[in-house]
Symmetry: C2
Subunit: 154 residues, 2 copies
DNA sequence: TGTTTGATTGAGATAAATTTCTAATAAGGA
DNA sequence: TCCTTATTAGAAATTTATCTCAATCAAACA
């Protein structure tokens, strides 16, 4: 949460400190997320497809394992938007830290920032003695377009 | 989000307004959530089991459909904690509205309240012209006990 | 640098969660 | 009361994620 950017060396050091290892797979996956344009996020399937495009033949199980690991380390954040599966993005610190406004009908997602939320989150974690990994406000709502249509949505 | 409590009549009116119907299944499921002690939340399986206990033989697919519907209406909120499946609870307005602090290793969940978050959420939704259904801050963190153990967790 | 240890990987099997399909039923408007 | 069509049950199918296990290879150390 508080790190700015992970170099492969940073990642290696942090993994090794816990008895884990830096593998080419982990390094590539981290790089893909770091190169992702702001506001983009990937599902496990998305990431796997993107890896294949780059001729990086990393198995789907490794993709899932790595996403989970990087999220546990606080390097990625796991997003629960309305798509029915998890998405991931780099967990950037203030002032890039942001939240999501999601239309539950069409899944349109808008980012927004709020320093007060980050403050609330940090304070809560601290109060209970937790080590903060990520805090995200997710607003479920219906966008103007979908309010007009009476269809039940997807 | 802004309603206090749904009577069967309220529910019927709101459903009918959209061309939908009030069925005994929907009414019973809503009642179960309304009777649930504060802080409790149910997965689809939990709810199905609880219905069987009450000799209410509602199929699992109807359970899933109804949960989705009630969440879309803003009557239930869908919680994405760390258990690997969705949980649901009544979406209560201020001052009962609350948020969750979750340990990503042991899944322990703690509730907390914050009026400022609800304010941020309402303001954001309004700004973009969205109709607010729910806003929830989820804090992912590692609890004191799990910080002590170096095991990778579940 | 070579050796050792055990973390990690790939591939497929498996599990868990959720959705879809279809015929039968029943809610609500006319 | 009748008619239309949303809804249901139950099963099958799909989607999402995890597990198994032999082979591999990263890191520590001699």
């Amino acid at each position: 949460m508080m790190e700015t950017l992970y170099s492969p060396q940073n990642l290696k050091a942090e993994l090794n400190a816990k008895g884990w290892r830096l593998t080419p797979q982990r390094e590539i996956i981290l790089k893909i997320f770091q190169d992702l344009p702001q506001g983009n996020h990937l599902s496990a399937e998305d990431l796997h497809a993107q890896l294949l495009d780059l001729d990086q033949d990393i198995s789907l199980s490794t993709v899932y394992r790595t996403l989970k690991l990087l999220a546990r380390m606080g390097i990625l954040r796991q997003l629960e938007l309305a798509e029915g599966h998890k998405h991931y993005e780099i967990n950037q610190p203030y002032p890039h830290h942001h939240h999501h406004l999601v239309c539950v009908k069409c899944n349109k997602t808008t980012e927004f920032k709020s320093t007060s939320i980050l403050n609330v989150g940090s304070k809560q974690a601290q109060e209970y003695g937790y080590k903060l990994l990520d805090c995200q406000l997710t607003i479920h709502a219906i966008c103007p377009e979908c309010q007009r249509s009476l269809l039940p949505g997807r």
